[in-house]
């Protein structure tokens, strides 16, 4: 057993990485935290609307169990249930912690936390700090980590990039290969555990709501080193974003949580000023089609409805693929207090004031439900064993993942305001796993032959030397844009197999063109191009995981919508019928008692779940993702059809 303080290398300074760093410092570990830029710049700052916790502050009868149910249902039952349940039960304590470290959460008249509505639930369970909640959470956690840095327990390696894990001949991760982004020097850092808290892969699509650093390269490198990647094809398309050349900026779901209404003119091509269009001539399609949840249906549902309106019905505003998101019925003062941050963003980028005129928005790539496969351990009662070293471990021992980089909390579709929660939950929860794993190591990194580290380093030194010598005809940034176009065209809201086959082939073409890339920067100081070329290579590999997974999964689940395999839920179907049906079937009772078409639908649903209610697992073999499927723990809630109307 290792007697000294544990040493943990955390890659990424967003919410997951900062939470893990804070908690590990409390557990007396030495932490090295690695980030592309200064820690306050991580993508978590882009989260806007809030963070979920069922504290029932409005006396609506909310409970963590309901939060759990909403999350599982929102994810179309594809998440491992014991973990999600644990997360939802921990959520109130997490909110209280965040409150104690000084997050400027909005408050009620008594000076306690205020909560608002969000998508996929009927309860007000979202705590928020204006409309820049992610930024506020990052700052507060960063401040706690700075405090430990002040006390000498944290080393910040900012302006550094993670290149890969150092894996010894027993297959155990012993450290990380890093590159200093200023000197461009490549070196290794030794540690008991490496945590990848590296966020999502939105840059695979180029234009998304994601930040520039969200290439998914770190997680993909782990996959290339043998780690399993889970549910890659489940990419969330957020229904409301603002168009831009460089980025599709997010317009938070909280705009709808605070009463924002989505509509288009009833008459296609109506060119009138939206304020001049009378109420009766507006089509509030979400409210009409989903009377119960209205504008707050989950994101996959809202994005599909917008797609239907603008593409299949050609009813987009001004003939463009856009719809109105309208807040003009709310007072300006209220809007500034609750949503000021995002409304300012809209105004700055479009020139229109959303307090006065409806916003024009459309869907954009936003979040990856999939990510590195990570483990967990259930105790005999079915609860998560927080002491188990298996929690959040990837399939490479000693390499852990947390936050958007992992795969197991959001199933086939994430609910709004659950991502901040899963980032912080995983970051905090994994600390015991990390310490216990380090305690159990029979050999410490000090006893690993130095050649293991030297080899890992020299491999990357020569890889970067090769990249710098690339002198073909393809500009890497242009090739990245082309990859984005391919992915946007083939793996978005509506998917079909013939298009996906073409997309798989197009990604292959991009891969071929990649060999002809030119390293367009010859500088030997702070040269970002070789590093970008390596990230582009990873993005191509990740595109293969996403497209192959999507092609093979012949069903409609959450964000993965293939109309061909839509099970056609009858209009008047009640999901409870399915529970009743299973019960009757189990007891050998009559099942032909349901309204016309319902039994057939339920049989289709059952058969489909039997085949497809499984995690997609991608493993790197012969330059390809080898896809297999793993069972999901559905021990708590019986998977059933989703319904939001």
């Amino acid at each position: 057993m290792v007697q000294r303080r544990k040493k943990v290398i955390i890659i990424g300074g967003g919410l997951a990485g900062l939470s893990a760093a804070m908690k590990l410092c409390e557990r007396n570990a030495d932490v090295v935290i690695v980030s592309f830029q200064n820690l306050k710049r991580s993508h978590s700052v882009c989260a806007q609307g809030g963070i979920n916790a069922a504290v029932d502050a409005k006396n609506e009868g909310d409970t963590p169990e309901k939060h759990f149910y909403d999350t599982i249902k929102g994810g179309d039952f594809l998440a491992h249930q014991p973990l999600v349940r644990d997360m939802c039960h921990q959520a109130p304590a997490i909110i209280h912690l965040l409150d104690r470290i000084g997050v400027a959460f909005n408050r009620n008249e008594e000076g306690r936390l205020a909560f608002r509505r969000f998508g996929g639930t009927l309860y007000s369970r979202t705590a928020f700090a204006g409309a820049t909640t992610g930024q506020q959470l990052v700052y507060s956690l960063d401040e706690q980590v700075r405090r430990y840095e002040h006390d000498g327990m944290v080393e910040r390696l900012e302006w550094h990039e993670y290149l890969s894990a150092v894996i010894d001949d027993q297959g155990v991760c012993r450290g990380a290969v890093l590159q200093d982004l200023r000197t461009n020097k490549i070196f290794t850092v030794k540690g008991d555990v490496v945590i990848l808290a590296t966020g999502g892969p939105g840059q695979v699509y180029v234009r998304s709501t994601n930040s520039v650093v969200n290439t998914g390269a770190a997680a993909t490198t782990a996959y290339l080193q043998g780690a399993k990647y889970g549910n890659g094809e489940f990419i969330q398309i957020h229904p409301t974003a603002i168009p831009g050349q460089d980025k599709l900026r997010l317009m938070s779901e909280s705009a709808r949580g605070e009463g924002g209404r989505v509509w288009v003119p009833r008459k296609a091509g109506d060119t009138r000023n939206p304020l001049k269009i009378p109420e009766a001539e507006r089509y509030y399609f979400l409210e009409e089609n989903y009377p119960l949840y209205g504008n707050l249906v989950p994101r996959d549902v809202a994005s599909r409805e917008i797609y239907e309106i603008v593409y299949n019905k050609s009813m987009g505003v001004g003939g463009e693929p856009m719809v109105y998101l309208d807040l003009t019925h709310k007072s300006e003062e209220y809007l500034q207090d609750r949503l000021g941050g995002i409304l300012d963003i809209y105004r700055k980028f479009t020139g229109d004031d959303p307090k006065k005129i409806p916003m024009r928005i459309f869907p954009a790539v936003h979040y990856s439900m999939g990510g590195l496969w990570t483990d967990y351990e259930r105790d005999s009662a079915g609860f998560i064993d927080h002491g188990s070293p298996r929690n959040q471990s990837t399939s490479i021992p000693g390499l852990y993942a947390a936050g958007e980089a992992d795969y197991q909390y959001h199933g086939a579709n994430r609910l709004g305001a659950n991502s901040l929660l899963s980032c912080i939950y995983t970051g905090l929860m994994m600390s015991r796993a990390v310490i216990n794993f380090s305690d159990n190591l029979n050999k410490s990194y000090e006893d690993v032959p130095s050649t293991v580290f030297e080899q890992a380093e020299s491999q990357w030194v020569s890889r970067f030397k090769e990249i710098k010598q690339m002198d073909g005809s393809e500009n890497p940034y242009q090739l990245h844009k082309d990859l984005g176009d391919v992915m946007m065209a083939g793996a978005l809201i509506v998917r079909d197999n013939s298009t996906l086959e073409k997309t798989v082939a197009s990604v292959k073409d991009i891969e071929t063109r990649f060999k002809d890339v030119k390293c367009v920067d010859t500088n030997n100081w702070a040269n970002p191009v070789p590093s970008f070329i390596n990230q582009l290579h990873c993005m191509i590999e990740l595109s293969k995981i996403i497209t192959k997974g999507a092609l093979l999964r012949d069903e409609f689940r959450g964000a993965h919508y293939k109309p061909e395999f839509d099970l056609q839920q009858p209009k008047n179907f009640d999901p409870y019928e399915y529970i009743d049906y299973l019960e009757r079937k189990k007891n050998g009772e009559e099942v032909s008692i349901y309204p016309e078409g319902h039994l057939e639908y339920m049989e289709r649903f059952e058969a489909n779940n039997k085949k497809w209610l499984k995690s997609t697992i991608a493993e790197y073999k012969d330059n390809e993702p080898a896809i297999s499927y793993e069972d999901i723990d559905t021990s708590i809630l019986t998977p059933r059809p989703r319904k939001y109307d």
Binding site: K23, E26, Q37, N38, K40, R41, S42, H43, V45, C46, A93, H96, L97, D99, R100, I101, G102, A104, N106, R107, G111, R112, L113, A114, A129, T132, G134, Q136, Y139, S140, E143, Q144, R146, R147, E149, H150, S211, V212, V213, G244, Q245, D246, K247, R249, L250, G341, I345, K348, F349, N475, Y477, Q478, V520, D521, T522, N523, W525, A526, N527, V529
Partner: protein
């Protein structure tokens, strides 16, 4: 405005911290809704100067592209601001891009802003909690105080206020408005207030609040409209009281 066919960017470049700076111009096809970032991205895709010379793409810092991360600060047409919200159609042509001058240049438009973060350590810009285990709800705070704190807490450490400040320079120790404002933020929190004295002592020494020349330009350039001059005045009052207190106590 939309009649523009191309946009000229004239960029101050530098290959390394000790290298000599030089200027290069680039012509980029006009696109709707373009901003400085999208133009720099276009140059990455085709790094050729207006004179037709192949050059290295421009190095700059950016991340969120929606003015919440604070990364892409640069001097655009002589004014320090975020590049992401600098829309081409709202700028005078040609557009001049320069790195900030109050922080050491790393390469092209990239500078090293470590000093901002070191200052945050000096003033203990954090709430000193006992531990992250569950201890129930946080302190009761009125929504008015919350609103006051929230505005201060939106500081992205972007450096605009420091670049504009005549007092803040490459070779002195002046902390600047961003840091003073953080002192105010944490002194406003019931638990944070337990370290009020330490924070005030930290801004009463060299580079502290008394070095402020009251030029008031910080507040004009802040992309988040943080009331920096109010913070400076408030911290000025707090330190004065602290000085008087020190006279009686020491």
């Amino acid at each position: 405005m939309n009649a523009r066919k191309s946009v000229r960017l004239t960029v101050k470049r530098q290959s390394a911290p000790a290298a000599e700076p030089y200027w290069e111009s680039f012509d980029i096809p006009w696109k709707p809704r373009a901003n400085i970032i999208s133009c720099l991205q276009d140059i990455q895709c085709r790094p050729v100067t207006a004179e037709g010379k192949d050059v290295n793409p421009i190095a700059w810092d950016c991340n969120c592209l929606e003015e919440v991360c604070g990364s892409c600060t640069m001097v655009i047409n002589g004014k320090v601001r975020q590049a992401c919200t600098a829309l081409i159609d709202q700028l005078e042509l040609p557009i001049y891009l320069e790195p900030m001058t109050k922080f050491p240049t790393q390469r092209d438009l990239q500078v090293d802003r470590s000093r901002i973060f070191e200052n945050l350590k000096k003033v203990k810009a954090w709430v000193p909690i006992d531990g992250s285990h569950d201890q129930g709800e946080g302190p009761v705070i009125s929504d008015q105080t919350r609103a006051q704190r929230y505005v201060l807490s939106e500081c992205m450490s972007c450096g605009c206020c420091l670049e504009a400040c005549p007092q803040f320079s490459l070779d002195n120790k002046f902390m600047g408005a961003a840091t003073f404002s953080q002192v105010r933020l944490f002194n406003l929190h019931p638990t944070g207030a337990m370290h009020t004295e330490e924070r005030l002592e930290a801004v009463m020494g060299e580079g502290g609040i008394t070095d402020c020349g009251n030029a008031q330009v910080c507040v004009e350039v802040c992309p988040k409209n943080i009331p920096l001059t109010e913070s400076i005045a408030d911290i000025g009052r707090q330190t004065t009281l602290q000085t008087i207190k020190n006279i009686f106590q020491k």
